[in-house]
């Protein structure tokens, strides 16, 4: 990995951490916080692409593991990997990868603004919602003995917020692409 790619990933990890300053909203009946950090995960994929986006998220997980309070609400430490929400946390890695991979495939610089935005939106929806929720729900069902259907139902409370996040990520991705083209082009 070039030094530039390493630094890009680390700085995006820093952006994800910074998004954790916004306090999480915890819905009374669901144990997983609504957090702006998952917006950061989507943006990492959209802006940096699959490889660097994935590394950015991995760096965040390393920071969590070594005891830095980088999750929203100042949480962190290995205990974050022993929570019912751990599936979502680990799912961030796959989410960034899939979002990035699809962004690289769907969005081309010669497309119109609308097509690009829609491309990024689809990438963020599939990576940041479909794939992420699959990880989160399976883990929740298993670790908390909740059963798949209940875990699924409970997680639906995040859908409205996460659709909005995917939309914001798409707008940001398109604007950054215009202002600072960076996404790796696939040959």
């Amino acid at each position: 990995m070039s030094t530039r790619d390493l630094v890009l990933s680390a700085l995006f990890a820093a952006i994800i951490v910074a998004l954790g300053i916004l306090p999480p909203i915890t819905l009374g009946f669901i144990p997983v916080p609504i957090t702006a950090q998952s917006l950061g995960v989507m943006m990492a994929g959209v802006v940096l692409g699959a490889r660097r986006g994935t590394i950015a998220v991995l760096i965040v997980l390393v920071l969590v593991a070594i005891g830095l309070p980088v999750l929203s609400g100042g949480r962190g430490g290995l205990a974050a990997f022993a929570a019912p929400t751990t599936g979502f946390l680990i799912g961030w890695v796959l989410a960034a990868f899939v979002t990035g991979y699809l962004s690289e495939r769907l969005v081309k610089s010669e497309q119109s603004a609308l097509v690009q935005t829609v491309g990024f939106f689809l990438a963020a929806m599939i990576g940041g919602i479909v794939v992420l929720y699959a990880c989160g729900i399976v883990y929740l069902a298993f670790a908390a003995q909740l059963g798949l259907s209940k875990a699924f139902l409970g997680s639906m409370a995040f859908i409205p917020g996460d659709v909005v996040k995917a939309f914001v990520a798409a707008l940001v991705g398109r604007a950054v692409m215009v202002g600072y083209p960076l996404l790796p082009v696939r040959s």
Binding site: A175, V176, V178, G179, Y180
Partner: protein
């Protein structure tokens, strides 16, 4: 322009960033100098209400800055790091953006954008990406964005930072030619030659308020201590 400081000062906790100042500013060109951390930016931010006084009041054109919104339309501010000031990636969009939020119609916006680009001979920058601009070009773009909305008073915080001799000359010329009132913070003392009023700050205190020549002499004396 009519700016009155009435015993206005700023503290952060126990630290005094600006000791209370009482004065009135009406001159067309006002310079501000002082060492790093002496309180220059703090003083300027009081004028457009970005910082609220911890004691006293600041009155701009008859309005208390405690109600920042009223003052913002009168006062334009060019920040010390202009790259933080450009909000949209493309220069033209950024200029239009401030107008849009003031409720102008699309046709008006387009004509105002053209007018300001014309005024500063900056048409060649209109479609450039802000992040690719050189220091001098960035300063110019920020100036266009801020002046497009027609403020009455302009504050420039170290506008010639990082610029070469030529760009510096360009900015000097631009500032001198502004019909608006301008308050200029600068380490670039040449920029202030001829100013009838220059304020010198030191460790949070206003230590001189004089013509350029006298004020610069005081500043050099402080710097050489």
């Amino acid at each position: 322009m009519d700016i009155r400081f009435e015993g206005a000062g700023v503290s952060y906790g126990a630290r005094v960033a600006l000791a209370p100042v009482t004065l009135q500013l009406t001159e067309k060109r006002i310079g501000i100098i002082g060492l790093n951390g002496s309180g220059k930016t703090t003083f300027a931010r009081l004028i457009n209400g970005l910082t609220k006084p911890s004691v006293g009041r600041v009155i701009v054109n008859g309005r208390d800055t405690a109600d920042a919104k009223a003052v913002l339309t009168d006062v334009g501010f060019i920040f010390q790091s202009p790259q933080n000031q450009i909000i949209l990636p493309v220069v033209r969009d950024d200029i239009a953006f401030g107008l849009k939020s003031r409720g102008y119609k699309p046709a008006e916006i387009a004509s105002k954008v053209e007018a300001v680009l014309q005024r500063f001979s900056a048409a060649h920058l209109a479609d450039r990406r802000a992040h690719e601009l050189s220091g001098g070009e960035l300063q110019l773009a920020a100036l266009c964005s801020v002046l497009a909305t027609g403020p009455d008073i302009l504050i420039l915080d170290e506008p010639t930072n990082q610029l070469d001799l030529k760009n510096r000359g360009l900015v000097h010329g631009l500032v001198d030619g502004l019909p608006e009132s301008a308050i200029v913070i600068s380490h670039d003392l040449e920029l202030l030659t001829g100013y009838e009023r220059v304020l010198v700050f030191h460790e949070g205190n206003l230590v001189a308020d004089a013509q350029a020549g006298e004020a610069i002499r005081r500043y050099r004396e402080i710097a050489s201590r």
